[in-house]
Each structure stands twice: as C-alpha cells, then as structure tokens.
C-alpha cells in the first residue's frame, strides 16, 4: 500500500522522480496548475510559504556536520508538497499532500526516515509569517526576531527509528537566486522552476545516534523550489550538488541526464560576500569517476566536477558511498569531501539510477 501511495506521490514530485519513469505523470503537463514565468518576481516572506497553485514544491535542507572528534556527518531535512489539484481546500477535503524525508549520514552508517501527511488538518504544512514548516514532529521553524529574513535563523528537528537531530541554523549571507533571478531552466525545451537558496548557514546542534547525543557544528544549505512540470519527457534522472569551499565561495550545480541528448547542466557560483553568477547549459561538467554497488545498483560516488570559467576542477568523494535514502522510492543523498583546485565539503543528490 504505502509503496503505491509513495510511487504516486513521487510521480507528482517530478523533479525527484518523474525521472524514474513513473507513468509519465510528472512530465505530463498538468491542467489548471500555474507554471513558472520569467522574469521571476518574488515577495518575501510570502514566497517562503507554500504555493498551492503549483503542483510541486520543496523545502530542502542539507547540512555538513563535524563532531567533537572531527568525524564528518551529514544531515538532510526535506519537506515536499504535492498538489492533487490547484486549490487550497481545508480539512479532510484538502488536496495538498506532504512528504518529509530525513537522513543522517556518518562515514560508516546512513539512516533515513519518511513521513507522509495530508494538508488541511494541521498534521503538516508551511506558514510564511512566522515561517514554520512541519510534518508530524519534524519541524523547521524560524527563530527570527525583528526585520531580518524569516529564513535567517532556523531550528530544525527530525526523528527516525534509530536517529534524531536538533540543529540551530544562522545565515551569514543573503538568499541566492538561481538561473535568471530565480527562474531556473531545466531543459532545452524550456521546462523551468522557481529556485532560490539560502546557502550561508552556520549551525550548531545535537545529533542522536543509537541513543547517544553528539554535539556538532557545521554548515547548511536550504533550497526552495516550486514548479508544475520541471522535467522534459526524455530526462530520466539528475545529479545535483551543493558545495561549500574553504575559501567561503559556494557552487550549486546540476546535471539532468537525458536519454536522447547530452546532459542538461546548470550552475550558480556564489562568492563569499553573496554575489552570484549563473552558468548556462554546458558550462558545468560532471564526470563519474568511481561507481559503488549501492542497494543493488551501480551508482557514481566519486565525481570530477569542472567549471572552467571559474578555474574549478575538483574531485568530489562521498563520505559514505552507501548514503542510500531507503524510502519508498529510494535515491542517493549524502555528504561529500572535496579535493583538487578547491577544498571543502558538500552534498550530492542522485536520482534515477536503476
């Protein structure tokens, strides 16, 4: 049962999973839903909240953590929204469905958890003012006072069968808008989404693993993205990275694998002071170096990532190659160690590998 529901949900959460070829639901143009328009115009804090007239949306946080003994950890907190129809009915009649994923990675273990909820009854949802995103007891709540952006200070908690975490995030830079001021093109055919990030978090907090609390510090990256039909028919998976270099600069890059053509790539270079530069298709190159056997599939867990325009040529290695999100429709999501022209930490997400 659950598997079916999730397959269905995932179909709607196209960026994640239409890629995996579910009945073309995610790639079929949805009727009645709004579609992203260029130029993008954002209004905050409203746009931190949900957009029920768009089909899919997510609040996606990845964090690179370090323990007191220097051990590298990774944490993920994601809330997906998926609309059955473009309205915001309340109560049991709500047509907005919610899915939460949480992951906690160590160099040797990876734990994941999943929560599902319907909207309209308070079990899950997002409010913009004050900002809060939650599903069951998992939450991402703004601690901002005054006039700062709602996302500047966040408290993030989640809990799985064998792990939990509680993280305090503080942004040290501005929001970053990808593509054309937040209008992010996803294919040569013009599929697009609204996409912005807060990549400047410093964090402190506690992770709990098998009953033991471990204090951690680190950095985090929040992605906000919504659309109604982000992938083209022939795109069947993606590789996405968010990288934080030791010199304070950052890179977001993705490569959408295409059955019929070369991968469609895009990248955003972010300077330590918060300036950003978007790169069109082809500027970023992502090349698999080593594959690992993960959950019965061959998955690239060491990559060469090049952005010649910025003199970037690095090797990104998974801290734990088995960072498998064992949720109903599984994918790979885990922390990276970066070496080469630039050093640092990052996060990698890969979908659509069979």
């Amino acid at each position: 049962m659950k598997h079916r529901v999730l397959a269905f949900l995932f179909c709607l959460i196209a960026g994640q999973a239409a890629a995996q070829g579910f009945a073309g639901l995610g790639t079929t143009a949805a009727t009645g839903f709004a579609t992203p328009q260029s130029p993008a115009r954002f209004a905050f804090p409203t746009d931190h909240g949900p957009h029920p007239d768009f089909r899919i949306e997510w609040w996606y946080l990845t964090a690179s953590l370090t323990g007191p003994d220097g051990t590298a950890y990774g944490a993920q907190w994601t809330l997906f929204r998926s609309a059955l129809s473009p309205d915001d009915a309340q109560g049991w009649q709500a047509t907005q469905l919610w899915m939460g994923h949480a992951g906690l990675t160590t160099p040797t273990t990876h734990a994941s958890a999943e929560r599902l909820a319907r909207g309209g009854i308070g079990q899950a949802g997002v409010t913009a003012q004050p900002f809060a995103a939650w599903i069951d007891d998992w939450s991402m709540t703004s601690r901002v006072t005054g006039n700062a952006d709602m996302l500047d200070r966040l408290q993030v908690t989640a809990r799985g069968d064998s792990f939990a975490y509680d993280l305090s995030l503080t942004a040290t830079g501005p929001l970053i808008f990808h593509g054309q001021s937040g209008y992010s093109v996803k294919s040569a055919q013009g599929q697009a989404s609204y996409y912005y990030s807060q990549p400047f978090y410093r964090l402190t907090g506690t992770i709990t693993l098998n009953g033991a609390d471990i204090p951690v510090t680190g950095t985090a990256w929040l992605d906000r993205e919504w659309s109604s039909q982000p992938l083209s028919d022939t795109q069947d998976g993606w590789d996405w990275v968010s990288l934080q270099f030791d010199d304070g600069s950052r890179l977001m890059g993705f490569s959408l694998r295409d059955r019929a053509a070369a991968p469609f790539t895009a990248a955003t270079w972010i300077t330590p002071d918060g300036q950003s530069q978007s790169f069109r298709d082809g500027a970023l190159r992502m090349t698999p170096l080593t594959h690992s056997r993960v959950a019965g599939r061959e998955i690239p867990t060491r990559w060469r990532i090049e952005l010649p325009d910025r003199g970037l040529d690095i090797t990104a290695s998974a801290i734990n190659p088995q960072s498998w999100m064992d949720v109903s429709i599984p994918y790979w999501e885990g922390p990276l160690q970066l070496t080469g022209t630039h050093h640092g930490r990052g996060y990698l997400e890969m979908t659509g590998y069979r």
Binding site: M1, V5, W92, Q93, A94, R118, I121, D136, D137
Partner: protein, 801 residues
C-alpha cells in the same frame, strides 16, 4: 468374480428401485442437512476472519475515547505532532430506507503497513481519484450488488472486503458521514525512537485487539447450535440408511447364500458389498452436497440477518463454494454409510452358508436386547442429569443434550412395548387387541425409525419452548428496560447543556445516560452512570438484590451489575466488584440484561461524575406523556438539527429489537421442520421395509373377514398410534431439552438464564404434525395393502403347507 457378485447383488436394486431411492435419499438428506449447516458455519467464520483482518484490526491496537464518541481531530493532530505513529479512521453507517453501507474511511498516508489495507495494492486504481473528491468506494461485488444509499461516489470492485462495508479515503468518509473527528485511531506497533510511552501522551483508551468484542467469539454459541442441529439431522438420516441397508440385506439373504454356495469367497463378497456401498455413498453424497448447498443458500440470508441483528456481525447473504467443505461432507457421508451398514456387513460375514434362506424381520430384537438397551438408556439419562446439573461449560451442556437424546432413543422401544402391553390389557374387542399386539410385534422393525421421530419431535419441543420462553421473557424485559418514552443523542457536550435548558419545561424528567468503557472484574465492560429516578426504581428488573438496594445505590454505597457479569465472574450480591484498576464497590443488586454480550455495572450519576469528570452526558432518556412523544421528537430534531436516528422513540426500539429476535429464530424454525421431515421419511422407510414381510400376519386376519380396505385403515391407525405414543414420550424429553437449553447452554453461551414457559398451543400443533407425519408415512404401504391382489394373500396359506 467380484464383478459377477456385484452384478448379482446389484440386480436386487433393479427389482426394488423404491428401496434404492430410499437409501440414496436417506443418505442424501443426512449429508444435505449436515453439509448445509457446515457450509453456513464455514462461510460465517471466513467472514468474521475477513472482517477482523480488515485494516489489521486483528493485530493493531486502537485509541478511542472512553465514551466511544469520536476522537477530536485536534487530539489526533497533537499525537502526530508529538511524533506518535497513529492513523485516523472515520467509520460509520449510511442508511437510506433498506439500503445501508458501512464506510471505513482510512488515511493511506499514515496507515501502518500492518493495516494491510485491501484493494489498494493492485494496479488499475487511480490514487488521485481515491484521494480527491468525489473519491471512490472500494467494496466487494456482493456489497455493490445490494441496494446502496443514493449519491454514492464511483465504486470499484475488489475482493477481500467484508460484506456490507466499503473502504474509502477518510476525506470521502468525512464528507459522506458529515463527521470531522476520527472515530478511532490505529496505533502502529513500531513507534519512532526516543518517544515517551504513548500512554503518557494521551488519555484516550488504548484497546488491544483481544479486548474488543470479536464477532467470532460472540457468535460461537450460535454456530455451535447450528452444528448440533446438523449433527442431529445427520444422525436421523443415518437411521434411514440403516433401515434401508438392513432391509436389502434381509431380502438378499438367499442371493448371498447362493453366491457363497457357488464358491464366492467371503472376502470377495465383502469387497463387493464394500464397493456397492462406496458407490451408493458417493452418488448420494454428491446429491446431498447439491441439496445441502441449496439449503444453505436458502438459509443464508436469514442467518446473515440474525447475526447482524444479534451481534452486529456482517456476513455475506450469499454462499460461496468451498472444495474443502465438499470434501469433508463427502467423507462424512462415507463414514456415515459405513456406520449404518456395519451391522448388515457383520451379519453377512457371519452368515452360515447352509442356513435356510428364511427372511426374518431384521433387527428382531429379543427381549434381552431390549432390556440391555433400557439399562444403557437409564445410565445415559443419569449422566445427562448429572452434566446438566453440575456441568459448567458449554461443551458439558451439549454433552448433556447428547446423552439425553441417546438415552431417550434407547429407552423408546422398551417404553413403547410396555405402553402397548398396558393398552392391550385394556382393549375392548379382539380386533383392537390384535391391532395392539400386532403393533407391538412390529416394534423391533420400526424402533429405529421411531427413535428418529422421537429425536426430531423432542428437538422440536425443546427448541420451540426455548424460543417461546425467550420471546416471552424478552418482551417483558424490553417493556421494563425501555420505559422512557424518548432517547436523544446530541453531538457535543455543549448541545447537552442546551438540551437541558430546552427540555426543562417540556418533559417530566430528563435522565442523562453516561458510560465509560472499563474493566469489570478484569474483563472488558462498561460502567454506566444513572440518575436516581422513579423510572428506574419502579421498572428495572432485579433478579437478586439487597434490601433497600435502590436507596443504597442512590446513596452511592455500591453498584448494580448485570447478570452476565455476575455469572461470568461468579459474583453474588454483597461481594465486591473491581471496577477499573483501583476501584472496588459492593454489589447491591443484579439485573437481567438480555441481548448484551458485555459485562455492565451501574453507579449513580454523582458517583460517575466524580470518577469521570471529563465525561459530559450527550445521551438522555426523556419521560413525557406518551401521546406527546412524537411531537417532542420532531421538535428536538428541528431545534438541534439532529439526524433521524439521534431521537429514538421507545416503540421504535422495541419494534427493532423484536424484529431482530424474530429473525434470529426463523432459522431454528426452518431446521426444525427439516428434521421432522427427515424423521417422517425414516418412518416411511421402516414401514415399507415391513410391509411385504407382514403379509403372513395380515393374511389370517383377511381370511377371517376383514376387508383389505379395513386392513389398510388399520395400518394407518397403527402408524398413528405409534406416532402418538412416541410423541407422548418426546414431550418430557423435549421439555428436559428446553430446560437444558435455557438453564445450562444459554447460561454458558450468553450468560443469562431464562425462565421456562410451556406453550400448550405449540405443543398441540406439533402433536398434529407428528400424527400427520405418521399417517403420511403409512399412507403408501396402506394404499398398497388396500390394492393388493387377494391372490397374494391366499399364497401366504399356500406357502405355509
């Protein structure tokens, strides 16, 4: 050689097709009733198991409110927001006239995997459709075929759903039922790590599957009753078969002797007999299966109605075919054939080859055999009494009934012989004396058939006495218990307060009814709070009470408990009854509470509020002049926007309860008639068996000047006399059975004891039926006698010389 023997033996059936038909029919009837009842039971058990497994209800704990009302949505959300894996269900019944459907609204997003929700796993169901309005209802083909309320969402047919129920999204159920709050919450067995125990996070009642009323358990006794009926019918059917096979053996004595004399080894002869019986058993078994299936199919709607009414257990109204059932029934037929034929086969094996082929009445029991039987019978009856008086399990109850039946049957020939001898001594003329003597002479040949008749008649008397007693008691009890004119249920506690104000000067009394599910003496039950009012004091039926029980109850000194609790927990007045984990109160009185399978206790309203301050009454009993009840009911519906079934007139409840009751025993009536029919047929068989052999006795009477018509009339008369005498014996046996059913089996099965009422009209009607059955059974042999050629009667004398 066996082939030749088979052909030779088989030729008998060609010459006596009637006998063959009798044998086949007897076996078929025995199989039919037994297998029919088994089919019903099997189907019912499967339905219970299916219903229990729906939504993993046989495995998952539930959270619900103590008063059984819906769980506030906010409470559900609070539990989820605290991290607990609970999943809401909105369930309820939609009715429109005769159409009804039970909706089971689930939230597939939070339902634990153990819920094992049927119907959604397969392909071809668009989940968008399932979630979004108008939604879909998933149900079995049978449910979809029955009348449904109007304006239902699209229907998808899936196997594996209980009858009368539809699975749907909780949103769809919420919309159709007009209910926002979950009826209850399912608790996932695996809760997330690092959470405090669920019990500390909520004051909802957590019920494990074994503590919920389980239809399989509740209906056990009902099915045991059916099984007993089936076995009785099977036994009666075997009497027929025994008679037919015995007759065939007697008539084939000469053939058997000739075959043996011609050199057929005994082994081969016995194999030939075995093959013949197996073939007959198989043919009759199959015929019986078909017949049994037809009987079960005809009874099924009644059974389904009964179980729904009595226990709220939903059964499909139609029957499905189960090969295991058919196999078991066939095996039972073959085993039965073997038992019935054992005597005949044994005699064949011992038959001296050179003995004269003299037909003698089979089963010519000697006086010694009759005495032995009588002794055994008395032993059995003593055992029955012992079990009835001191046995304290359901099985002991049924064993007592079995001993009673067997003992009575074995005692029958000796008793009948005694009665006939006594009558003979008082006969006024030689013809009557001859008739009685001749009847007595025939007893051994007819005794098995008469035993069958005795069993059928006493079962009939016993069961109809029980039903009648139940009805009489139940109606009186309903009058006492449902004394208030109106019963009102409002949706919220606030409405309850408002209702009080509204009714203040419109009624004579407003009596709140509050209850909480709790444990009573360690078993699941309900504690009620009741206002101290003349309504209860004057009308409540207490079967045992302390002096001044009502005043002491009003003073909060103790509790009243229902008969079920008293019997199950072996509590008597004055004892302390544990209520919930800590409270213990003395028992002031015990009241009868028919039809309720659960333990129950009553305290005063004040005491109840002190124990459960959170429970605010939303159900009320109203006293008002009966002629104003209907007006007030409609005022209440208008004023509070209540659905029709929230305001109930007591006459409606009574009508409903009695309807349920009538339905319950309709099936018993049908089975009664069937067993009586089978017994009548057994008698016919016995009489036919004797008819030909009796010419030697009749010929002299004919020669003395009695016409054949007169002789035929006397044949009828004799059968009727035997029927009447058997009935006279069946009467005490039947009443003893009724007593056992009411005082032993009912108490064990349901926890209540009923007073015994005898209904002379019913008994007289049954006497008429018994005489009719005897007359009908004798009609064919009598008719043949009336038309017999005088030549054959003369031949009797010719052969004598």
């Amino acid at each position: 050689m066996i082939g030749t023997a088979l052909l030779t033996l088989g030729s008998h059936w060609r010459r006596h097709p009637g006998q063959l038909a009798m044998l086949v029919l007897g076996l078929a009837l025995a199989t039919a009733l037994w297998s029919g009842v088994q089919a019903i039971n099997t189907q019912a058990r499967a339905a219970y198991a299916q219903a229990a497994a729906t939504l993993g209800q046989d495995r998952l704990d539930r959270l619900q409110r103590h008063d059984g009302r819906p769980v506030p949505l906010a409470d559900y959300i609070a539990l989820r927001r605290a991290g607990y894996a609970v999943s809401p269900v909105i369930s309820g019944e939609l009715r429109a006239d005769a159409a009804r459907i039970r909706l089971l609204g689930i939230d597939p997003l939070t339902a634990p995997p153990e819920a094992n929700i049927p119907g959604l796993q397969d392909d071809g169901l668009d989940l968008t459709e399932f979630f979004a309005a108008p939604g879909v209802l998933i149900m079995s083909a049978e449910t979809a075929g029955a009348p449904l309320p109007p304006n239902m969402p699209p229907i998808r047919i899936r196997d594996g759903l209980p009858p009368g129920a539809a699975l749907t999204d909780i949103g769809t159920a919420a919309r159709l039922l007009g209910q926002t709050d979950p009826s209850y919450l399912l608790v996932a067995p695996n809760q997330p790590a690092y959470l405090p125990p669920l019990a500390t996070a909520t004051n909802l009642l957590r019920l494990a599957p074994e503590h919920r009323a389980d239809p399989a358990q509740l209906t056990d006794s009902f099915h045991l009753n059916l099984t007993a009926f089936g076995l009785l019918a099977f036994a009666v059917g075997l009497f027929i078969v025994h008679a037919a096979i015995g007759l065939a053996f007697e008539q084939r004595r000469a053939t058997i002797r000739t075959l043996r004399a011609l050199g057929l080894p005994l082994r081969s002869l016995l194999i030939a007999f075995g093959l013949e019986l197996a073939a007959l058993g198989l043919v009759s078994g199959v015929a019986g299966l078909i017949l049994g299936y037809a009987i079960a199919a005809a009874l099924m709607p009644g059974v389904a109605g009964t179980l729904r009414g009595l226990y709220g257990a939903d059964l499909p109204g139609t029957l499905s075919f189960d090969p295991a059932w058919a196999g078991a029934a066939l095996a039972m037929t073959l085993a039965g054939t073997t038992i019935a034929a054992a005597q005949a086969i044994g005699r064949t094996a011992r038959l001296p080859i050179l003995a004269t082929a003299r037909p003698e009445a089979w089963g010519q029991a000697s006086a010694r055999l009759m005495r032995q039987q009588a002794v055994l019978a008395l032993l059995l009856l003593a055992t029955a009494s012992g079990l009835g008086l001191w046995g304290d399990t359901l099985i002991a109850g049924f064993a007592a009934v079995a001993c009673l039946f067997l003992g009575a049957a074995l005692l029958l020939p000796a008793t009948l012989a005694g009665l006939l001898r006594w009558l003979q001594g008082r006969a006024q003329n030689p013809l009557a004396e001859w008739l009685l003597a001749d009847t007595r002479q025939q007893l051994p040949g007819l005794s098995l058939a008469l035993m069958a008749l005795l069993l059928a008649l006493s079962a009939n008397i016993g069961v109809s006495t029980m039903v009648g007693s139940f009805r009489a008691t139940f109606v009186g009890w309903l009058d006492q218990r449902l004394v208030a004119e109106l019963y009102v249920t409002v949706p919220t506690p606030d409405d309850g307060t408002r209702l009080h104000e509204f009714l203040h000067d419109r009624t004579d009394a407003i009596l709140p009814v509050v209850w909480v599910d709790t444990t009573l003496a360690g078993r699941p039950g309900a504690l009620y709070g009741q206002a101290d009012h003349e309504t209860f004091r004057a009308h409540w039926p207490l079967i045992a009470a302390q002096a001044d029980a009502w005043n002491r109850l009003a003073a909060g000194e103790g509790v009243l408990i229902n008969e079920q609790l008293a019997r199950f927990a072996d509590l008597s007045v004055g004892a302390l009854v544990p209520i919930g984990p800590v409270l213990r109160l003395p028992i002031l009185g015990i009241y009868s509470d028919y039809g309720n399978p659960q333990a129950q206790a009553i305290v005063t309203l004040d005491r109840f509020s002190a124990l459960h301050p959170d429970i605010i009454p939303t159900r009320f009993a109203l006293r008002i002049a009966p002629d104003k009840a209907a007006d007030l009911a409609s005022q209440l519906r208008d004023e509070f926007g209540l659905p029709a079934d929230a305001v109930i007139n007591q006459s409606q409840i009574k009508r409903f309860s009695l309807g349920v009751f009538e339905q319950t025993f309709r099936i018993t009536g049908a089975l009664n008639l069937l067993t009586l029919g089978v017994a009548g047929f057994a008698l016919l068989t016995g009489l036919l068996t004797l008819a030909d052999m009796r010419l030697a006795q009749l010929a002299p009477v004919w020669a003395l000047g009695q016409t054949r018509a007169r002789l035929a009339a006397m044949e009828l008369g004799r059968s009727v006399i035997l029927g009447a005498l058997t009935f006279a014996l069946a009467l005490p046996v039947g009443l003893a059975l009724a007593w056992m059913l009411l005082a032993v089996i009912n108490v064990q099965a349901f926890g209540w004891r009923l007073p015994l009422h005898v209904f002379p009209a019913d008994v007289l009607r049954l006497l008429g039926l018994a005489l009719l059955a005897a007359a009908v059974a004798a009609a064919a042999p009598a008719w043949r006698l009336a038309r017999i050629s005088p030549n054959r009667l003369l031949k009797v004398f010719a052969h004598e010389t």
